[in-house]
Symmetry: C2
Subunit: 484 residues, 2 copies
């Protein structure tokens, strides 16, 4: 029972695996360091020195790694600092290199590939299916890809070329070629006999695809129907012709929504001539949705890519630059807006203490609006018909919140500085700036969408820039008119 | 070909469906308004008035709705303003109410349930599986749930009680009860015969579960193995005993990671006694991952829940209050920090123009750090061993960026105000505030995690509060010391 419990908590399990690997690594490194005191240091990839004690430690580690799922090894590689990561990578059986390279994050993949020779990379690449190879190809040196390409069959070359020709966010980039085609006029028994020739069906084979002699897609036959129906029945009578078909050029996000909406496990990919060219499976869709949501999170704070948490300071700092530079520019601009009112601030220094309130709340409120708009855009819920209606609604919310929170802030200003005029200027500025925030929070994502850009990237910088500069201008401008 | 193309682009398709429904609705509403000019207005749920022209319009709409997938109807309901939404809801066949209520978002579900009578709700609920019913139950009136509960079998009551007893973010909340158990000692042929008694296997049945007479879980038998092996083989020889098992109390996020890592379609849920109690399927996991990522997005800007985009201004404004109130408090606090340096600002009004630069960049930088830490925490990549190492790294990045961008900001200040001291104060303040940002950006999510709270919720308010107030204090404090 204790044993089965251990298997159950697989997440704790992978963390246990990580701990065990860390402990084994410590042994190896310690032993290596002791050996190094006797031998001269060696260069390049680590190789276990020849003492028997070391050999045992390295054998233990290697044995542990052999027992792990490639995805778990990928997890461990990502969680280890670079020198230990490379030591583990070196211990992994080379015939598993390919499947592990596919699993690790881009940043960590780069760090692994950098240590591998041309031959090692070629061998790793040759272990992969063509759709996996297409994922890995951009990270491989050109000469390696040339070697690999030569080793492929004509059909595989064609598949690889096809898979690499689609953009990263298209259905073509998600598809694999492990579909099993059958003919319409055969019996289930014949299909079963055909399937029995496979030792194992490809992963996620919940259905086989019915095609004609020209490879044209006719429908799908769920495996479950093969199981629950009598063997004499004919494929054509059982197949589902009106099923969802994907196109390789479609947006991957649309395929993901179809998988979510219709609870699919696999779906056929059909080209313009109606020919079956591949299939998409739910595991790939699940990875896509997760990766997408992570990259949305990262891009919201201007991180271009997932960071290897053990990357160098220099590399990580660079990943954060563009965003900070952009924000510095907008901050400089806002600063000059304030600079235009230095005379007013000199007379009423209270304005300097209150102005961040005006900009802060409007920025927060505008970002709420934008988040809702971006989400509704992604779901396709904003139509031309209801866009104006939503604009009115957001303005109403902004106006309402402006009066409420602006009123409170106005009272705050009044009680601090005992000036009714200052309180009114404060309330008026917050109301106006929240209306500005609602307007830009709504229009900027809509305009970006119209220009064909991803509204999730960069909207918030622009919006905050406007509510900052705009807020300073409105507040200090009103103060100049009514207080000076 | 044109036809198959239309089927292919299912997302454009659901938007086409939406447009068609909108057009049909316009006809109905127009006809209804014309009829209303003759008849007195009627109350409650809409019923088509009795003219033959109207009947035709309503029949068209009803026919269109009957042809749609429940998920597509849910999509259309979410995209329609409230009065049109209720008209469509009224047109939907009542035997489909249950499956559609399960599909719509919480906010929209509330708006639909509010219009339904006790009997209608009971009928809708009785159409559902117990696991679906458990999802819907919190939204149903108590008396309805009592009626429904009475209509269930003893086994179903037990399942419903179990499903409702688990917290929303546990595996128990994701599981269903449609698992097919088989015994170890039977042949594949017997299994096939047993399966053939089903008209259709439950969705996502990629494997059947092998149990003993006490319902103890022994292993899984993939359907694919039934298909590719000879009928005489025995289940016990083919089944996979060392397979992933989930526990009902585990975190749903951990199950999601297992599905991603090991590319699962379904997984058994086993209780503490080793008994098979249910299963989790990949479609539920996919929905969970999507919902989770959306609620992360929303909670980052303080939206407690997904908004019905057609909810009233009053309701939407409330959804945004807590966040704005919280931010107003932190802004008041920051304002008082500035207030402490009014004397300094009176002498050097330039400080007022420059201070938002110091706080803005540090806030951005700290939020980058937090985003990376939260992500690494979610992946379980931060261990006690490497936390300090990461802290050092983030401090190094903060220091580096502080010198770089602080230096540029210092030059900006110098060229504007021709004061070397001001430039140095500016650079120093930015450096220090970026270090503060790195420290809190790293420690706040770690502490929240330790306290058992979700680090994704609320971290950014606290961090921005500290980089704001801290930034004003550091900058104006340094200025008071070195400039006055």
């Amino acid at each position: 029972m204790a044993d089965s419990n251990q298997e159950t908590h697989y997440t704790e399990n992978v963390q246990n695996h990580l701990k065990q690997v860390e402990a084994l690594l410590d042994n190896c490194i310690l032993a290596e360091e002791m050996a190094a005191m006797r031998e001269p240091p060696h260069e390049g990839r680590h190789t276990p020195p020849g003492t028997s004690l070391n050999k045992q430690h390295f054998a233990d580690l290697r044995h542990k790694l052999d027992s792990l799922h490639p995805a778990d090894i990928a997890y461990i590689l990502e969680a280890l600092p670079i020198e230990q990561r490379l030591l583990v990578w070196d211990m992994v059986k080379s015939e598993r290199d390919g499947e592990i390279l596919i699993e690790v994050s881009d940043a960590v993949r780069d760090s692994l590939i950098a240590t591998m020779s041309r031959d090692e990379l070629r061998e790793a690449a040759e272990q992969l299916d063509t759709d996996e190879l297409a994922d890995l190809a951009p990270d491989l040196p050109q000469n390696v890809m040339r070697d690999v390409f030569k080793s492929l069959s004509i059909e595989e070359r064609e598949q690889l070329r096809a898979a690499m020709s689609y953009s990263e966010d298209s259905v073509g980039a998600l598809m694999d070629f492990n579909m099993i085609p059958v003919r319409e006029d055969v019996t289930l028994e014949a299909v079963s006999r055909y399937l029995r020739r496979f030792d194992e069906l490809p992963d996620h084979t919940d259905q086989v695809f019915v095609t004609d002699r020209e490879d044209r897609f006719k429908g799908v036959l769920p495996i479950n129907l093969i199981v629950v129906n009598e063997p004499e029945m004919v494929v054509g009578d059982l197949m589902l012709p009106d099923t969802i078909q994907l196109h390789p050029e479609e947006k991957a996000e649309q395929a993901a929504q179809a998988f979510e909406r219709y609870d699919l496990v696999s779906a056929p990919v059909v080209d313009e001539d109606g020919k079956l060219v591949g299939r998409v499976t739910v595991n790939v869709v699940l990875d896509f949705v997760r990766t997408q949501s992570e990259s949305d999170m990262l891009s919201q704070v201007g991180l271009r890519e997932e960071e290897d948490i053990f990357a160098s300071v220099w590399k990580s700092a660079q990943n954060r630059w563009a965003w900070l530079a952009l924000n510095l520019c907008t901050a400089f601009f806002a600063s000059r807006v304030i600079g235009g009112f230095e005379g007013t601030i000199e007379k009423y220094v209270a304005l300097a203490t209150l102005m961040p309130i005006v900009t802060g709340i409007a920025g927060n409120s505008a970002n709420q609006t934008t988040t809702i708009v971006i989400r509704s855009l992604a779901l396709g819920q904003i139509t031309q018909g209801n866009a104006r209606r939503l604009m009115h609604k957001e303005l109403a919310i902004g106006g309402f919140n402006g009066l409420l929170w602006g009123g409170i802030a106005g009272l705050f200003a009044y009680f601090l500085y005992r000036s009714v005029a200052l309180g009114i200027v404060m309330t008026g500025a917050m109301l106006l700036n929240l209306l500005v925030g609602a307007t830009v929070g709504m229009t900027i994502p809509l305009v970006m969408q119209k220009l064909g850009r991803d509204p999730a990237i960069g909207s918030s910088v622009m919006i905050t820039a406007i509510t900052d500069s705009g807020g300073f201008f409105i507040f200090l401008g009103l103060a100049t008119i009514f207080l000076v």
